[in-house]
């Protein structure tokens, strides 16, 4: 008997054709049923996670920077620009829970995805509140010592 690894005689061409067809059909069935998950949702998740934590960090940086230069008597306001969509979804920046939890949330309302960023304890000395929608045209952070 020849060794199995040296034996180069395989199945007949017809049988091989049937085998290959079945494998390919099975493979493509799996791919088509999962294509939206594999090609759209997973990359979208990754991009959204990246962008939302990026924007959360941006807010945290800006608020900390503003906190450092606040005037004792007076006001400061700054406009900022954010992309209207993270991945394929609009999102909202929510600072209303900052006072209790020391965090800023970036939430996508359509998928419920949520990224939280800390603001380093600033909110214990200064109340921070407000929400901002990514789709609105103007975004402003402002502080007024007289309010």
């Amino acid at each position: 008997m020849r060794k199995l690894s040296k034996n180069e005689e395989g199945v007949s061409i017809l049988f091989e054709y049937i085998l290959f067809s079945l494998i390919c059909i099975g493979f493509f069935m799996i791919i088509t049923t999962n294509s939206d998950d594999i090609f759209m949702k997973t990359p979208n998740e990754a991009v959204m996670q990246d962008e939302m934590s990026d924007i959360g960090n941006m807010m945290s940086t800006m608020i900390t920077d503003m906190y450092l230069i606040l005037p004792e008597n007076g006001y400061i306001d700054t406009e900022y620009r954010i992309p209207a969509k993270a991945g394929r979804e609009e999102y909202m920046i929510n600072a209303d829970i900052a006072y209790t939890d020391q965090i800023i949330e970036v939430i996508s309302s359509s998928s419920g995805k949520k990224v939280r960023v800390t603001i380093g304890g600033i909110a214990t000395t200064m109340p921070i509140n407000g929400t901002a929608l990514s789709s609105s045209t103007n975004h402003v952070i402002s502080y007024d010592s007289r309010r």
Binding site: D50, D54, N57, M58, D65, I69, I76, T78, E79, Y80
Partner: protein
């Protein structure tokens, strides 16, 4: 020598080619994701004019002290009163600040509100607080401090 078409002794080379191409595809996907990560957060740290505003503030504080000392020096050789000299020097400073900030596209303004002294006279040890209005605007950030209270004693 066998012809190229019939030579089948290249399995490992062909397989390693496939593996390398898969690795490259994976790396390209990773690199694409890395390129968009962290743009906005670093941009906010760079664009927000924190240092400009702090500098404007600390310059004004420093200069108020210098102007106070200078006005006493000038007063010893002239007939003008100290508040009058102080106002003139501060106006000079204000004009210079406006020009300096205008040259990099920002609007800054410092204007004197009042010179305060504890007992109403303007001796060298009496002037203690200077009230100054500071405004700064670079198009997206608007800062107003009115008044900024500067201790000059």
């Amino acid at each position: 020598m066998e012809s190229m078409r019939k030579n089948t002794k290249g399995q490992w080379i062909a397989l390693s080619g496939l593996v390398i191409s898969l690795i490259l595809i994976g790396l390209a996907a990773l690199a694409n994701q890395a390129a968009i990560a962290g743009y906005h957060s670093s941009n906010a740290a760079l664009e927000f004019p924190k240092e400009n505003i702090r500098e404007l503030n600390s310059h004004t504080r420093d200069n108020a002290r210098i102007i106070k000392d200078l006005s006493f020096e000038i007063n010893s050789t002239s007939n003008e009163t100290i508040p009058f000299i102080f106002e003139q020097l501060f106006d000079n400073y204000s004009t210079q600040i406006q020009n300096l900030y205008a040259s990099h596209g920002e609007t800054a303004d410092v204007s004197l509100v009042s010179i305060n002294s504890t007992n109403g006279t303007f001796g060298i040890d009496d002037i203690d607080l200077i009230f100054v209005n500071i405004t700064y605007n670079d198009g997206s950030t608007h800062y107003v401090s009115q008044p900024e209270i500067i201790e000059v004693r």
